[in-house]
């Protein structure tokens, strides 16, 4: 709801001298005039301008001497670099969930997806990196988003609100942009903290919300890019970094009305404002990065669920869904537990001793969650491809893994051929040299490189290998 670009207009008290020094930005073809320009139907827009609501002039007493096209363009260009990364890593996460097996959520999205491909299982840190960047950068840009919204807010209360059909459409498209980004931020921030107060499916809402935001974002960039470039060129960044508060002057009047007509004396310089926003982003980065990087940095994520230590034992790393929450009864995982392998030769039942007697492989692999956190541990167990060979399909097209868990949405997962075939893909029995704990999936769990964490099925009951 902020900042549509009007056709150039005259702004009462601004001197012509200022104008000749700094030619205002115009929208391509529209000529600069001293009279307001109205599109069709001009009578309607003029009538609207005359019907000025009584309080509106109060709402236009913007005082900050910092607002203006240059500052907005700086914020805009930083977002233009950051947001595409967040968008792309988000859309790739959808692919990582395996839409070809119907495991991406929401399921049927029509054309609203990148071209689907088999998610790679190398390098093992791929999903950790992408999802860590998606969540981390998504949080880090929040101060920038707020600063950008602050910088353009005079446009929201401009009167008349509209002078042309173009402005009407642009204001409507800003609903998609602003609603889209704040919706994505709100749902994402709540989801990484397991706060589901919104009631609807996070995956569904965050995915469709992303496409609404993409619609608004691409349009906004298309319309505003020339204006942003002009804004950036209107003054030198280096000069701004050398300008103290005492020397800080308002930007020249602009056609968008971002510059205050009657600015207050500056209480902070432009470099100070940029430093403040940058410090806000750095502050968020310090409070976030540890959940992905781990090690000694984990503790710095002191307000996030995954910044917490669980102790120093071999099984004391981050748990996603406890055995209690998954309703795994101890009796099910005791000596009666059997792993069922399904293959062309029929069923094969293996107890844990048999699995332990098979060749064991050890791999140091990260487990990375959609919430952006990850942890790297040393897993040992039986290679999935050895189990496939045992089931009679040495080169399976896919494997469907089922958990003992009865009800959860992620009580099963389908693995691609490359994920089964990767030599580091395991049915893990042990972690860091000891048996898995119940919360980490005892008696056996899947661990596959670069797979979204929740597809590394715990408390495995059966694996069905599919033919090509």
């Amino acid at each position: 709801m902020t900042a549509p670009s009007p056709p150039p207009k005259a702004s009462g008290g601004h001197s012509e001298a200022h104008r000749s020094e700094d030619p205002p930005v115009t929208d391509g073809e529209a000529p600069e005039t001293t009279e307001p320009v109205y599109g069709f139907p001009a009578g309607l827009w003029r009538a609207l301008e005359r019907r000025r609501p009584p309080g509106v002039s109060l709402l236009q007493r913007w005082r900050s001497p910092l607002r203006g096209p240059w500052l907005t363009s700086i914020f805009g260009s930083a977002l233009l670099i950051g947001l595409p990364v967040v968008i792309l890593t988000g859309l790739l996460s959808y692919i990582a969930y395996g839409p070809q097996f119907g495991q991406a959520i929401p399921g049927d999205v029509g054309w609203l997806t990148l071209p689907t491909f088999d998610w790679p299982s190398r390098p093992s840190w791929l999903y950790r990196l992408f999802q860590g960047v998606h969540v981390g950068l998504g949080l880090i840009i929040i101060p920038l988003v707020l600063a950008k919204l602050w910088s353009v807010i005079p446009r929201l209360f401009a009167w008349p609100p509209l002078r042309s059909i173009a402005q009407l459409l642009e204001r409507l498209s800003l609903l998609l942009l602003v609603g889209g980004i704040l919706f994505e931020i709100a749902t994402g921030v709540l989801n990484i903290q397991y706060d589901y107060i919104f009631g609807f499916s996070f995956y569904t809402a965050h995915y469709y919300g992303a496409w609404v935001f993409i619609a608004g974002f691409v349009t906004h960039v298309t319309i505003k890019l020339p204006r942003m470039i002009t804004g950036l060129r209107s003054r030198s960044f280096r000069t701004m970094l050398r300008t103290s508060r005492a020397d800080t002057q308002p930007e020249p009047p602009d056609p968008d009305g971002l510059v205050a007509a009657n600015p207050a004396p500056p209480t902070v310089s432009r470099r100070g404002a940029l430093a403040l926003v940058g410090a806000g982003s750095l502050f968020v980065a310090v409070l976030t990065a540890g959940q992905t990087i781990g090690g000694f940095t984990r503790g710095a994520a002191l307000l996030l669920p995954r910044g917490r230590s669980r102790g120093s034992g071999p099984n004391d790393f981050q748990v996603n869904r406890t055995a209690a929450a998954a309703a795994i009864a101890p009796a099910e995982t005791g000596s009666d537990w059997r792993l069922t392998l399904h293959g062309p030769a029929g069923q094969l039942l293996l107890d844990r001793a048999t699995l332990e007697a098979m060749p064991q492989h050890t791999a140091e692999l990260p487990i990375a969650c959609v919430e952006g956190w990850s942890t790297t541990e040393t897993w040992s167990g039986v290679r999935l491809r050895d189990l496939a060979a045992l089931a009679g399909i040495p080169d399976p097209a896919r494997a469907t893994v089922w958990s003992l868990e009865r009800f959860g949405a992620f009580n099963h997962a389908v693995l691609q051929a490359n994920q089964v075939g990767n030599p580091d893909s395991l049915l893990a029995l042990r972690v860091n040299g000891v048996d898995l704990s119940p919360d980490h999936g005892y008696p056996a769990r899947i661990i596959v490189p670069a797979l979204p964490g929740v597809h590394n099925t715990k408390w495995v009951r059966s694996i069905e290998f599919g033919q090509r």
Binding site: M1, P7, G28, E29, A30, G39, W62, R63, S64, P106, V109, W111, L112, L139, I142, L146, I153, I165, A166, L169, L172, S173, L176, V178, G180, L182, F183, A186, T187, V189, Q193, Y194, D195, G199, F200, T204, Y208, G209, V212, A215, T219, I223, R245, A264, P265, P266, T267, A279, F283, V284, L303, P305, R308, Q318, V319, N320, T322, A324, A325, D439
Partner: protein, 187 residues
């Protein structure tokens, strides 16, 4: 051709690319809504747990809720400092405390805005099911973080006052006029 574009621009209010881009965005958003379907958008049982409601709340969330709140807070702060500066106190501060109050306030607000679910223990049961832990430590941690922010700012302000004081004399450059008389930065 050029004349045609000029006429179009005068009629529409911007160049043709503007029209193409906005219509494309509405069509894409319309397709998203179509694929989602009404049952996904709207929750019949609990209206406020609807995606549509949350989206509309997001549209106004900053501009009509958050912005008025922080603008009012900032305006109150600057007005209060101006009022204090107007009074003839025995030894007026040589450096305005304005930004030394703003920065920790922003840090406090930002950290709460991002991490409030843990701080106020919202979503207890899903948190416990996911992690096997409770949210008990977060309020204390946040309070310590806030204490650190304000404490560091106080130290920085004290250091700044000391530096300004060492310069000595009434001729020293002081900021109180600029800030104290800056009645407001927002409407």
């Amino acid at each position: 051709m050029r004349a045609l574009i000029t006429r179009f621009t005068a009629f529409y209010g911007s160049n043709p690319l503007h029209l193409l881009a906005t219509i494309a965005s509405f069509a894409l958003a319309g397709y998203v809504v179509l694929v989602m379907g009404a049952p996904t958008l709207w929750n019949r049982e609990v209206w406020w747990q609807s995606i549509l409601v949350w989206f509309l709340a997001a549209v106004i969330g900053h501009d009509l809720v958050l912005f008025p709140l922080y603008a009012l807070a900032d305006r109150s702060l600057t007005a209060a400092l101006a009022a204090m500066g107007g009074r003839r106190v025995a030894s007026p501060p040589r450096v305005s405390p304005l930004n030394y109050l703003r920065v920790p306030a922003i840090g406090t607000g930002l950290s709460f805005l991002l991490f409030f679910p843990g701080i106020i223990q919202q979503g207890k049961f899903t948190y416990l099911a996911a992690t096997g832990q409770t949210q008990q430590p977060f309020l204390g941690r946040w309070l310590l973080l806030v204490a650190t922010l304000w404490g560091l700012s106080a130290l920085a302000y004290a250091a700044r006052l000391a530096v300004a004081g060492r310069g000595s004399g009434p001729t020293t450059e002081t900021d109180i006029d600029a800030d104290g008389n800056a009645a407001s930065t927002e409407p």
